[in-house]
Symmetry: D2
Subunit: 293 residues, 4 copies
């Protein structure tokens, strides 16, 4: 039986590997800073996705490869240090070619995160839900990037997820399968098959042919009503709810500010938002005060 | 008539000074990253408070002077670049003695923010709402820090706010007044009188004796139902809603994740949270795509 | 008559523009941190080149686009704040496509540097003196990047230098000229013509045909014995000694450590290295102590 | 027999502990970035001292606690990743009180460094060689900081060095001894006894009474001619040459730039400074190019 993940870096990565072996679905929440990572943890998620969409949006920027390795690394490290569960770092296209992919692995692994994910789009990439401008790198070149990243690992536990944007870029399931096989051959421990279809059919078809060759990760943003247990039965090993915290937050903050300005005071919102004490609690105030000597 | 604030750094600071001259209440929203700063701006706030409580909490840390100048500067700079309205940086106790206060001014001013605020507690400070351990620096020493910060300004527009924690530390209104007079003598452009009383009486008493010698800033966290127009009439020039975005966000994210995990999918929350397109919009996706040449 | 450059950000950039108008050769020293920038300034250089080669090497990394915008921006900002002379930021290929080039301009300009330089190689680029793997981007695409960067300027003074690696990549002077004309058309204020030939002949030929259409920058690393006055007469407006501080430093530190270890003490090296007091002086210790209040 | 230190984080710290057990003098070189750390390693030093004096000076700033935890952590992390030998981080006074000391330990340990050193001066501290303004914290308070830091360790190998500035602040050897005993009681693994006397007599006296209770570290800046073997025999376990690379570098860069400007070209200096190829080599260019796939 799998118990909760331990704090030590390598063990956090091993724990995800064990879930894969145990066919225990890994539920992952997208986060963009230490606080959202910690809310994910206390909510009961198994791991944190350090989302490039979220980290960019938190900076006030669109997800267009404007931020680079340093910014994602800083954000991922902050999340990793804020929680005990594993953090998986969304590393876009790997910040360049295969040498950059190797460098990416060394830097993120040294920061302690459980693993990284890189995707097979051309750099600079655009967020997968942007209508135009989605372009794939050749499968062979991307496999080279995965190989370089894989070989750069210092710890065997560190996870490398190869993400294909084949479906996003209008290619079919066959091409997605061809790519994912190449990616596992090149050293990926798991594949992320991204789809922006309104239903899970494409993903289901992929899974049927994939036959559990390696763990499969999905990001059901557009096919949100696919039940996670059903997904697990169909062959999914990890499901990432990538952007819901971000989206919930924007709505909540907008409503709060609008009410405050309308009423000329914050009295009306006080009841509906966390108290200052609750913020103290999630910031672990007492634990830190207890370190006083 | 005062119109909206312009983008140029010095002009953003001047605009706040003009509001003070015009007796136009400046409404300020606490934020902790570029995104929360931008929501404050689009909601109609006049300025952003780069809150030490918020920036610490976003990092997963309590507001105990664990973060320092560099982290606050990075966060404040990100907010400043994300918006057109002025950003006021909460600089805790000024990160050391008077030399540090001077350095703080040079660094934050160079980043473009409209001004900084420093407070008269002992370093390392604790958040004002932490029950124990609130200690004041001597008024004279703190005046020295304000003088050093004031003299370090390269632009005359840059704002320096002197914050007294006299009431927080159990001193009376008389001591708060004595301190604030010293602080304005030393170079502060405005004073922030902080109180954690359940009503505004202490602040009102302060204002009555202060007689508008210099602009007054308040942070009505505990006396939330004091109407801002009433406060303005009593002599308040700026009101900071310091932590409501943070608190709203924690509640919203918790509810979202709890629902997602309970239902095994995000279908139920989709209706209640901003869409991916709305995140694109607030991240200014189209403006950035439009820069393609 | 041109006097020394002032401290204000925009004025530093204007001062270089005035030198160009006055046909006064601008001598620039490569630096990689605040200290090497300050030594350049005290030595009498007109400006600092925030070198990607230097910044990478200081991090212990080769100049292969492993570092990105954030690291170069942090280093350039530190240099800018350490000196009064203008800082020109070496921005490699602009960290992506034209949208990234626009973002690069906004970020570096906001930091206060006098200008940026981007080059027409494929990302990820390799240092120009690396034998293999030098590849050019199409001239038209690179002109698009320059146009995007130019249009992103908030201050008209900010300099944009377009650098061609045509000669580095084995193209001839004709192609270099064609490119540089396109680059100036697209918004570059000056062109940098890089060459790794052992003599200045290629550059001289370029200058003869260029006929001072716009200011020309050179980096005479391999043709080190070309006298700068001669270069100025031939039509060069700015000469960058890009990597000599870095190279001098490596030699000096190696010799110092080797002597210390050999002798079992630092007694022998003390005479040949700056005293602790000299480090205090160049770190402006007394000026900072004088800020105490 | 002790062999060279391995790359894995915990092992680097253990290796220093083993040297202490073996009575093998640990020779440490002060560095301030990845490059100077790597030169220290290739020169044959056993470890790197991530010097606050050096890191501040590299930023163009005096060593007056202007930089904080974040800047030192970033610099130390860069050094740690650039070398295989252990890095010891000079953490000034621990960036606040005992809670800050605990936070300092968690952050630096997570970055992978072998250990940290904190000193018993009042914050904000001044460099020990600054004549005026040297003030000690009470021994009991500082012991509390060491205890908090010690208890915050996640790995038992991580080193905690307690540094006394008693002699720097005009106290005698007796007070230094009293303090160091308290510090070891509180959890320090080693003590650093700092002296700015022109000879080693004070330190020798300390060592005689200390009787090897715990490892002793010295920084022989002012008593530079004390032979390290002699020091080892007297009871010293680690000798730090803290600032010689920095000082050598300043002299070398000044001479280089002065020659370049005087001669109007870099031709004269080329022979005396490392070649571009040597910089490529120390930047590990070939190793990185070899990661291409």
């Amino acid at each position: 039986m799998t118990t909760s993940p331990p704090r030590v870096d390598a063990d956090r990565a091993s724990w995800i590997r064990q879930c894969f072996l145990d066919r225990r679905l890994v539920r992952v929440a997208g986060a963009h800073d230490g606080l959202t990572a910690r809310i994910a943890e206390e909510s009961g998620f198994d791991a944190v996705w350090a989302s490039s969409f979220g980290i960019s949006a938190a900076a006030g920027l669109p997800d267009l490869s404007l931020l680079g390795l340093a910014e994602y690394l800083a954000a991922s490290t902050a999340m990793h240090r804020a929680v005990d569960i594993p953090v998986l770092a969304d590393c876009d296209t790997g910040f360049g070619g295969s040498i950059n992919a190797a460098y990416t692995m060394t830097q993120f692994e040294a920061s302690g995160v459980a693993g990284i994910c890189i995707e097979d789009k051309l750099f600079p990439k655009r967020n997968s839900f942007v209508a135009a401008g989605q372009q794939l790198l050749s499968a062979e070149e991307f496999a080279g990037k995965l190989q370089a990243a894989s070989e750069a690992r210092a710890r065997p536990e560190t996870l490398l997820i190869g993400r294909t944007e084949a479906l996003i870029c209008g290619e079919g399931v066959e091409e997605a399968l061809r790519r994912c096989h190449l990616y596992v051959d090149a050293g990926a421990d798991a594949v992320l098959i991204h789809s922006k279809a309104p239903g899970p059919e494409q993903v289901v078809e992929f899974l049927r042919h994939w036959q559990r060759r390696a763990p499969v990760v999905i990001v059901p943003t557009t096919y949100a009503d696919w039940d996670s247990e059903e997904a697990a039965e169909a062959g999914v090993d990890m499901v990432i709810y990538a952007n819901h915290a971000l989206r919930a937050m924007v709505t909540a903050v907008r409503e709060t500010w609008s009410t405050v300005l309308e009423h000329g005071s914050s009295a009306t919102v006080e009841e509906n938002i966390a108290s200052v004490k609750e913020i103290f609690a999630i910031s672990q105030l007492d634990a830190w005060l207890g370190k006083s000597r």
